[in-house]
Symmetry: C2
Subunit: 132 residues, 2 copies
C-alpha cells in the first residue's frame, strides 16, 4: 500500500471516528470546502451542497443513531482525488456497503462524496474489522 | 457547465443506455481497464475487480431486471477523475440514488465505481427525467 493510500485510509478512519464520537466539529473539518459535496445516507435521497450535507450529519450525530464501525476498506488514489469502498456495521445491526470519495485540499484528504446502503445479501467477504 | 462536465454526463448517460439496451459489450467498454473497479448494486455487498463487476452486469442484463432511467445528474471533474450523483427510477418501481465515479483513460471517461441504493424517503427534488 502506498503512503498516499495509507493517508486516504487514515482520513476514512477519521470520518467514522468523528461519527462514533459524535464530534460535529471534526466531521465538519473532514468535508471539502473547495469542491462540491454530496451525500447519500442509507434510504435517503441525494443531498447536494455543504449546508444540506452538514445539516444531515448534525441531525444524525445529535440523534439516536447507533455507533458504526468500518472494515474491509480499500483505497485508490488518482492525482488529487481518491476513493474508498468499505463495509460498515451498525452496532447490533445490519451491514452496509459504502463509497467515500476524497479530494486533496491544502495537502489534506477531505470528503466530497459519501454513499452508504444496506447490504441485503451477505457475501463471504470477511466481516468489518477483519481488515483495517 | 464545462465541456468536460458534459463529456462526463454523456458517459453517464451511455452507462444507463447500455443497461437499458441490455448491451453487455457496450457496458464492458464503459468500465475502466487501467484502474481498479468496484460496484455496489442495491442491497448487494461490495464487488471488487473487473471480473466480479462485469459478471454482475452480465447477470443483471441477462436477468429479469427492468429498464432504468437516470435523472437529476450532476457532474464534477477534478483532473482525470470525475464523479456524478444522480437519481435512478426503475420502470414502474422505486427511485434510487446513485454515485458514479469515472476515470479518464485514453481520452475517454470510464467507470471505476458505481453505487446505487433505494430511496426510502422521497424529497422534493424534481423526478428523474426532469433534468438530464
Amino acid at each position: 500500500m502506498s503512503p498516499e493510500e495509507i493517508a486516504v485510509l487514515d482520513a476514512n478512519s477519521a470520518f467514522y471516528r468523528a461519527f462514533v464520537r459524535r464530534d460535529l466539529g471534526a466531521m465538519d473539518q473532514l468535508w471539502a470546502v473547495g469542491s462540491p459535496v454530496a451525500c447519500i445516507h442509507p434510504g435517503w435521497d441525494v443531498l447536494r451542497g455543504r449546508d444540506a450535507v452538514m445539516a444531515s450529519w448534525k441531525s444524525l450525530i445529535e440523534g439516536e443513531t447507533p455507533a458504526i464501525s468500518c472494515g474491509s476498506a480499500s483505497a485508490h488514489v488518482a492525482g488529487d482525488v481518491a476513493w474508498v469502498v468499505c463495509r460498515e456495521r451498525i452496532q447490533g445491526g445490519p451491514v452496509l456497503a459504502a463509497t467515500n470519495v476524497f479530494v486533496r485540499e491544502s495537502g489534506a484528504w477531505r470528503l466530497c462524496l459519501h454513499q452508504a446502503g444496506l447490504v441485503a445479501q451477505q457475501s463471504d467477504e470477511p466481516p468489518p474489522g477483519a481488515q483495517a
